[in-house]
């Protein structure tokens, strides 16, 4: 059974701090790892990391994938109150159907205090 574990489950920091969110996985036939930000409702896509793209950066957010050690981290620098959200890690595995469902972790609830 595919497994995705995120840590910490919750994190409270002050505005301006840098945070690192962790995601480890056990998946058969790994294809990609995705990070989402979930505020009130729908998960919003942030990054996808694959064997052809193990580092991604967008503004203050960056992420790396370690396929050997089976984990990924999401870094947010100079945090702002608008970064407060649940950050979800999900893994896509190849199971032969073509449209493969994602396996999600429980998420990290990040709170940025002013």
């Amino acid at each position: 059974e595919d497994k995705v574990v995120q840590s910490p489950l919750s994190l409270v920091v002050h505005e301006g701090d840098t945070v690192t969110l962790n995601c480890s996985y056990e998946v058969t036939n790994f294809r990609s790892l995705l990070w989402y930000k979930q505020e009130k409702k729908a998960p919003t896509f942030l990054f996808m990391l694959t064997s052809s793209g193990i580092e991604k950066k967008s503004g203050r957010l960056s992420s790396i994938l370690d396929k050997k050690e089976l984990f990924s981290i999401l870094n947010i620098t100079a945090t702002q109150t608008g970064d407060s959200a649940v950050y979800l890690c999900a893994v896509e595995a190849v199971r032969g159907g073509g449209a493969d469902g994602l396996t999600f972790g429980k998420g990290t609830h990040l709170i940025i205090q002013p």
Partner: protein
């Protein structure tokens, strides 16, 4: 920017009733998905759909559930006889299926289903 849309945003139903949740995926996407998130729990995969048939389904997706693409734009999830434990947020997602190394899945805003 194109986005996945879902209707209704909130559905309240009595136990045993049938419900249909509707989704309009991004127009040039080929793969469609349903997920659910019970309050306080993680997002769980239900089913995926490609080329007018189910591509993959999870253990949750039993005979009470069905999916359909009735026309060129809508993608629906039907729950035949709702149970209390079906109360959850249901998300539709779509991807273009063009990523050789992975498929970015884009999520709709969700339908909150409450079964009384």
């Amino acid at each position: 920017e194109p986005e996945v849309t879902q209707t209704p945003s909130h559905q309240v139903t009595q136990m045993g009733q049938e419900v249909i949740l509707r989704c309009v995926p991004i127009s040039n996407h080929l793969y469609f998905y349903w997920y659910r998130q019970i309050l306080g729990q993680k997002v769980e995969f239900l089913v995926s759909f490609y080329n007018n048939e189910i591509s993959e389904k999870s253990e949750i997706f039993d005979d009470q559930f069905s999916v359909e693409r009735p026309d060129g734009s809508n993608f629906t999830l039907k729950i035949r006889s709702t149970k209390l434990e079906d109360s959850a947020m249901y998300f539709c997602a779509s991807s273009d299926g063009q990523g050789g190394f992975g498929n970015e899945q884009f999520f709709g805003p969700g339908t909150r289903l409450t079964v009384l």
